[in-house]
């Protein structure tokens, strides 16, 4: 579709960017001219702008992102490596699912963040404790989505591959995994959100650095501008991951993304 001289893509970009800019302008306007501004209660974009400069120039932001990003990457990678095979095998081998189901359901249903203090006691406030917490939060969407994906595999395709001499291994790699991929990507979206929760909660207790710690610390100091910037940064990180995921899906699963367009 085309809108006048512009392509749909540029219209989409302009509208999106315009709406975000408008949102911040309205926010600024309301707190400057309409409501009385109480800096202990809320902040406004101009103060956030100053805080951003401050955080970037002092180098704190990059340092915090690095400190928090490392356990996030490790925890998330471990969740992928453990969660997908586990979910796939559970989906394909019913007995494995029957055996593991009680544990997984209990862990998934319970508020894992409640384990945070325990993990910190056991593994310390450093990278280890946070990695484990992030892993625990992020692994379940992978397990359950991979599981659901396998349950929905078309048996006709299984039969086709078997009839052409496919072995168990071929079934996994040529049918089950590719048809489960969309489910796994959906799981990854959820896992990103939960992993970011893991960062914040992991740094809530006794940490002395990291973006989650900074967020809480600025809150305690009533430096709301700085605090909001931290929130914004976490949002941006989540968005970057989600968009990256969509791009990755496009690259590895062109048949699907073309289908849905």
């Amino acid at each position: 579709m085309r809108f006048g001289v512009l392509s749909e893509r540029s219209v989409r970009f302009l509208l999106g960017a315009g709406a975000v800019t408008g949102f911040f302008l309205v926010w600024e306007f309301l707190l400057t001219f309409v409501f009385t501004f109480n800096p202990f209660f809320i902040t406004k974009p101009s103060l956030m702008w100053d805080a951003t400069g401050d955080l970037i120039l002092s180098g704190e932001l990059w340092k915090d992102l690095y400190i928090s990003g490392t356990p996030f990457v490790f925890g998330f990678a471990a969740a992928v490596v453990v969660g997908i095979p586990l979910g796939v095998v559970m989906g394909w081998r019913r007995r494995v699912a029957f055996a593991l189901d009680p544990f997984l359901t209990a862990l998934y249903a319970s508020p894992l963040v409640a384990l945070a203090p325990l993990l910190i006691v056991m593994f310390g406030v450093g990278i280890k404790g946070k990695t484990i917490l992030i892993f625990l939060l992020a692994v379940f969407p992978f397990i359950f989505n991979a599981f659901a994906g396998v349950r929905s595999v078309d048996t006709l395709l299984i039969n086709v591959v078997r009839s052409l001499g496919g072995k168990e291994r071929d079934l996994y790699f040529k049918v089950i995994l590719p048809s489960t991929l969309p489910y796994i990507v959906a799981g990854a979206r959820i896992a990103i959100g939960r992993g970011i929760v893991g960062i914040i909660v992991g740094e809530f207790y006794a940490a002395s650095e990291g973006i989650g710690h900074a967020l809480i610390w600025f809150g305690d100091m009533y430096q709301l501008g700085h605090m909001f910037v931290c929130i914004l940064v976490l949002m941006i990180v989540a968005v970057i991951f989600t968009v990256g995921l969509r791009k990755a899906e496009l690259a590895i699963a062109p048949w699907r993304t073309q289908e849905t367009r």
Binding site: L164, G166, Q258
Partner: protein, 258 residues
């Protein structure tokens, strides 16, 4: 001569969860000679696809067994390949990769399987579509990919489950002629399921007419028409007599409510 494929009486009942069991086949038996072209016609739901799946080795009958070349069928084998009624193309694979699936599973290298796959793609008239994904193809094109994929493994026995049902009339005529050539040249044994009496009569040495479910053989009709069969033969009175004979055998089995 010993038949190449034969069975004892086959009975197979499906027992789906929370539903009544369905007996798809009851005492169905079959004998096929090597190099023979046999068609099965029968009402919808009488167990034709079920039987092909038994012969392919994907379904185990409750009673009876089948053998091929003197060996009992216990599972899939490289000497058999099926053209599936619902195509069964892998959506994440291009046309080329779908056609190459069989040789790939056998461990053939790309260098050896690619030229052959290309040949078959050309044969079924899909040149230029090698890089397309199944969702970019029409029903008839998908069906032709399914045919090429089955041929790619160069099986001795071709099981074909309504392989031309999704084709337009002209392409269908072409593919029928093509199939007869392949069959004749490579001496394959073909078991061909169809709803078209005309197609069955035109292609086959024998036509097996099945009863309504639970399916068993009602009658086997020999088609004593000379080969090679040209298009004109379809207009001959003998051909029409055969069609009428098949129709008269089949019509009592058809249930308009199904």
């Amino acid at each position: 001569m010993e038949p190449y494929i034969r069975s004892t009486d086959i009975t197979l009942t499906f027992t789906p969860k929370n539903r009544d069991p369905v007996t798809a086949l009851k005492d169905f038996r079959i004998e096929l000679n090597s190099g023979e072209f046999v068609s099965i016609v029968g009402p919808s739901g009488c167990g034709k696809s079920t039987f092909l799946n038994v012969l392919l080795g994907l379904l185990k009958p409750d009673m009876g067994e089948m053998e091929i070349g003197g060996k009992k069928i216990t599972g899939p084998g490289v000497e058999r390949a099926m053209v599936f009624q619902e195509f069964g193309l892998l959506p994440w694979r291009t046309v080329m990769a779908n056609v190459e699936l069989g040789p790939e599973l056998k461990g053939e290298s790309v260098a050896s399987r690619r030229p052959r796959a290309q040949e078959l793609i050309n044969l079924v008239g899909l040149t230029g579509f090698e890089g397309h994904f199944p969702h970019e193809l029409s029903g008839g094109m998908k069906q032709r990919v399914g045919l090429a994929r089955a041929l790619a493994t160069d099986p001795e026995v071709l099981l074909m489950d309504e392989p031309f049902a999704a084709l337009d009339a002209q392409t269908r005529d072409l593919m029928q002629a093509e199939l007869l050539q392949i069959w004749d040249k490579h001496k394959k044994t073909v078991l061909f399921v169809t709803h078209s009496i005309e197609e069955a009569a035109y292609l086959s040495d024998r036509v097996i007419v099945m009863t309504a479910r639970p399916g068993k053989t009602k009658r086997i009709i020999k088609i004593n028409l000379p080969r090679p069969r040209g298009y004109e033969m379809r207009l001959s009175p003998e051909f029409n007599d055969i069609k009428l004979d098949i129709w008269n055998t089949l019509k009592d089995e058809l249930n308009p409510r199904e």
